[in-house]
Symmetry: C2
Subunit: 171 residues, 2 copies
C-alpha cells in the first residue's frame, strides 16, 4: 500500500542540514482539483483540468506583460514533501535511485516546476492547464516559457561564447 510519508524498503533518509541559506516569499496560491497527494497526477498534462494560480495582492501588478505568452514556467513549493530522502524507491519494489535522478516531490529543496498553457488572465488570477500539484500549494515564481522568450536586454559577451575555449575541467 502506498502511504504518504513512509520510508520504503531500500530508501535512505539523512539528517539534512538546516535550510537557512536563503529565504523564500510565497507569491500566491495554486488551486487544483487534487486535495490529497494520493490523487495528484505524477506528471501534469497539457490537456489536464484548468487550474487557478491566485496571486497575492502585492504582486498582482507584477503580472503585467505575462498574458502575451502562451506557455509559462511555474515554480511552486511542495509544502508537504519530506526533504530528507536521498535514495527513493518510487515503485516501492526495492529498487532505488538518488533523488536528483528523479522528479519526485520529496527533495532537499522541494521546488516543483511545470510548463503550463495559459488559458486566461483574470484580475490577479491566472487560469492554466498542465499542473500536477496539490490544491493550496504555494507559488514562488512565474516566468515566460524559455522557448518563447527572447531577451529584451542588450546582448552581453557570454551570449556569443560557444565551444570549449574556456574549459571548466582545466585548473
Amino acid at each position: 500500500m502506498v502511504r504518504r510519508d513512509e520510508i520504503r524498503a531500500g530508501e535512505v533518509a539523512i539528517e539534512a542540514p538546516a535550510a537557512t541559506d536563503a529565504g523564500l516569499v510565497f507569491i500566491g496560491r495554486i488551486r487544483t482539483p487534487w486535495t490529497d497527494r494520493l490523487e495528484c497526477p505524477r506528471q501534469g498534462r497539457a490537456d489536464g483540468p484548468t487550474c487557478r494560480i491566485e496571486v497575492f495582492p502585492p504582486w498582482i501588478p507584477v503580472l503585467d506583460g505575462i498574458a502575451q505568452y502562451e506557455r509559462l514556467e511555474v515554480l511552486y513549493w511542495l509544502h508537504l514533501s519530506r526533504r530528507d530522502l536521498v535514495r527513493q524507491s518510487p515503485a516501492n519494489d526495492g529498487s532505488t535511485r538518488g533523488t536528483f535522478g528523479l522528479r519526485s516531490p520529496a527533495r532537499p529543496n522541494p521546488i516543483g516546476s511545470s510548463i503550463v498553457n495559459l488559458v486566461r488572465v483574470e484580475a490577479g488570477t491566472l487560469l492554466v492547464r498542465g499542473l500536477d500539484c496539490l490544491d493550496g500549494t504555494p507559488m514562488i515564481d512565474l516566468k515566460p516559457d524559455r522557448t518563447l522568450f527572447t531577451p529584451i536586454a542588450p546582448r552581453q559577451p557570454g551570449d556569443d561564447q560557444v565551444g570549449d575555449a574556456w574549459r571548466a575541467d582545466t585548473p
Copy 2:
C-alpha cells in the same frame, strides 16, 4: 550605461515582504567562465562553454541515477540579484513590464532555471553546457529534463484527468 543595481527610468521597486515563508539549503556551487554579471549570457545556449556543477559532500550520493539523462533541469539561486523590482526596463529605454513577464534574474524569489546538456559526471561534479549564470552561483536543485523523464511511481487518479470536468472558475 548599463550598471549593476541601478533603478532605471520607469522601473518600480517595492518594499518586499520578508522572505521567511520557506528556507533553502544550497546543494552545490556552479562554476562558469563569467565572473561579472555584465559578462553573463542573457540566455544559455546548448553549444555554450562547458560549466561545472560542484555538489557539496552530503549530496554527492544523491546524484546516483542522473547520468542516464542527456538533459537536466537545474535550479539555482541568483544570489546577487535584487528582489524588489516589480516593473523592469530591460532595454533601459523607458518601456517597462512586470517582472513575471520577464526571465530577468531580478525577481521576488531569484531562482534561475536552465535546461542543460549533461556532458559527463565526475566524482561529485557534473559537467554541463547551457548555463547562463555567474561563477559561484549556488545550486538548489537538479532533476531530469521533464521531456525525458517517465514517472516510475504508479499512476494516480489525476494522471487520467483531462478536460474541464473540474472547472477552476466555478465556485
